[in-house]
Amino acid sequence: MLKLKKEHYDEIVKHCVAGLPNEACGLIAGTIDGDVKQIEKIYLLTNIDKSREHFSMDPKEQLAAVKDARANHYTMLGNFHSHPESPSRPSEEDKRLAYDSTAEYLILSLQEENHPVLKAFGVDKEKNVTVHEIEII
């Protein structure tokens, strides 16, 4: 179970809408207590691909986020990115580039105007995808 504060959800949506027509991306950090992952901080990163079909995070921003999360005693829980024109599910490329089987991969679909759909996924080493529950609090 992934717990996401409403303010952070709004931040993700705002960042992804602002990034249109391109994909937007970011990192999520927080705490882990048993099966519950609580997101405590969102990092809004630059998609250096500047593409509506691809994203790559800016490594310098990624480094800064990792250091900030550590300074705040948070664990880097995973990342998020948007699908401007497709559903909220990992593409073949998303799966291929999911190198961390413990990470949460959040995808925000903006396919339907004014109806963002955020889902979380796990991708194991064999590239099997599991849908993870998100509770917005």
Partner: protein, 69 residues
């Protein structure tokens, strides 16, 4: 020598290269890892020749990307 790897202080022998550190740290999917040394990005071509020294700070960053197709 003492170096800091992903925020943790570690003891390693002198003369350790970035490439050797990646092996010793059992970094998964090493081909997709970016390395920073004291906040500077190390080119992959230089992993074998970059020798670490006392007090160095190393971070491993996974490439994070994807696509809609």
């Amino acid at each position: 020598m003492t170096i800091t790897v992903a925020g943790n202080k570690k003891e390693y022998e002198e003369g350790l290269t970035v490439a050797a550190l990646i092996e010793k740290e059992d970094v998964e999917n090493a081909a997709y890892v970016t390395v920073t040394l004291n906040d500077d990005f190390v080119e992959k071509d230089n992993f074998e020749t970059t020798v670490l020294k006392e007090g160095d700070v190393v971070e491993f960053l996974y490439f994070m990307g994807g696509g809609a197709r």
